[in-house]
Symmetry: D3
Subunit: 109 residues, 6 copies
């Protein structure tokens, strides 16, 4: 669907998508920290698809389970109980990633 | 005002305030990372007082200007142009903190 | 400003303002319960002017301090730490209302 | 999934879950009033899972259909037309609960 | 479900539904402009059902693909990357409408 | 403050600001329609500074009072009563612009 949107020829949307990717690339902050920030931001804003994306990226960048739960705890405290359904889904996605890792399979977006 | 609220005797509110403080204490993630997460979360949710608090805490934890702007860039991309007025205030608070540091004064909450 | 807006002749806005007033009038639920609902809704949505309005209306309907803090606790748990600045303002408005009551003055909108 | 999350050993999350449960327990306000507040807060914040939870709890606490619709009306006026899809789901859940009650079955979370 | 809700006899809800329909009727602004406004508002507030509704109405009012993407670009810039999953769904709905139009079928709500 | 932020050297933020300006430039949709969309989006998201900006731009693009109120009515219906404080400020800004126009002065950002 991203390809479909980018092919529509709207330059503003195309450029925004590029900026979006670049925001999480290593700079003075490393990818891992940026992906955890993306996870926290997506959780407090309760965006399911964004959360799934950042959980997978966090796993790829080597975020540990304890780091993951500390990040989710910040999101839970900032955003309150309405984030709980999204925290459940985040943990479910994490468990699926860990399951893949245990089986020696790659965790892919 | 926090003291006034805590003195009101509502146990739930009192305990929430305690959890709120603890969420940013060093765990497997360091204080600096947690405060930057708090800054990003507050910015996408557009909470002025929370942003001011986390900017000051970031400065106290030694976040550099470049790190600061990379964190704000994540917030801007995730949250869109409606975060801009809050990003302006965040940078204004940062500038005031740096001014204090240049004069050898302490940056306090 | 409400009069200015209503005088502009937009029927939709005029009718919405009427529905807004009626939503808090006594029905099968009493005014007090409805005003506390309005307070909780305004707090989780972080609307300062709405919070001030509903705090005053709650005081007028005889909401006690303990009831007030239990309602705010629900809002705090649901909405998280970003509601804290608004909870501070709500309590400040409550204190001003109580001060007026102690002096035998009327609490007005 | 709650058990999974609680077993992860993050104390902050564990304690938040406890505070969340306690916020709706009878205090100076009764359970019914608190659950209706939870319903209104969840509706204006448009959290589907939270709405389903509070609708069921409202039914368990004996909220009548008329009370239910007056609470939803407050949420609709405060939160606007974007709450309508969630109000539809709330009423659908209510109807399922009433159907169970008509058949003499228990309404469970 | 709308009929079910309207039949419940809550006058406030009934009247709000009427105001909601009327807000998009031709006035000094035409239907097309109003539906595009509804689309932008629904997208920044990330309401899936509302977006689907306004995409279909936009197509019925003759909004072109380029106009559609310019409206979505405004929403994307204002609301940030968390609107992307909803922009994907909006474009998917648009494609389904265009497919129907190519086959000479009517685009219906 | 925008200059201060742009001078900080964060390329992502710089480019976002450029995209933000371009989103409202005439394309297949004219400036006036885009500014009204910006006004509606800012109002439902309750961003004061953004609303002030778009009200002024709407006035500069020749939006009439009736068009203005129809746009605000869409925002009010979509976003609910929590938008009312922002609608008041929008109308106040409009009145200040009209006052300037009556005195033959230019309406500037």
């Amino acid at each position: 669907m991203n390809e479909r949107i980018l092919s529509a020829g709207n330059l503003g949307i195309k450029r925004f998508f590029a900026l979006d990717s670049r925001a999480y690339e290593k700079g003075v902050l490393d990818d891992k920290t940026k992906e955890m920030m993306g996870l926290v931001a997506s959780t407090v804003l309760r965006c399911s698809d964004c959360i799934t994306y950042h959980v997978i990226r966090c796993v790829q960048e080597g975020v540990s389970d304890d780091e993951f739960f500390e990040a989710l705890n910040v999101a839970l405290i900032v955003g309150g109980s309405i984030t709980i359904p999204h925290i459940r889904r985040a943990v479910d996605t994490l468990d699926q990633c860990r399951e893949k890792q245990r089986k020696g399979r790659q965790v892919k977006l």
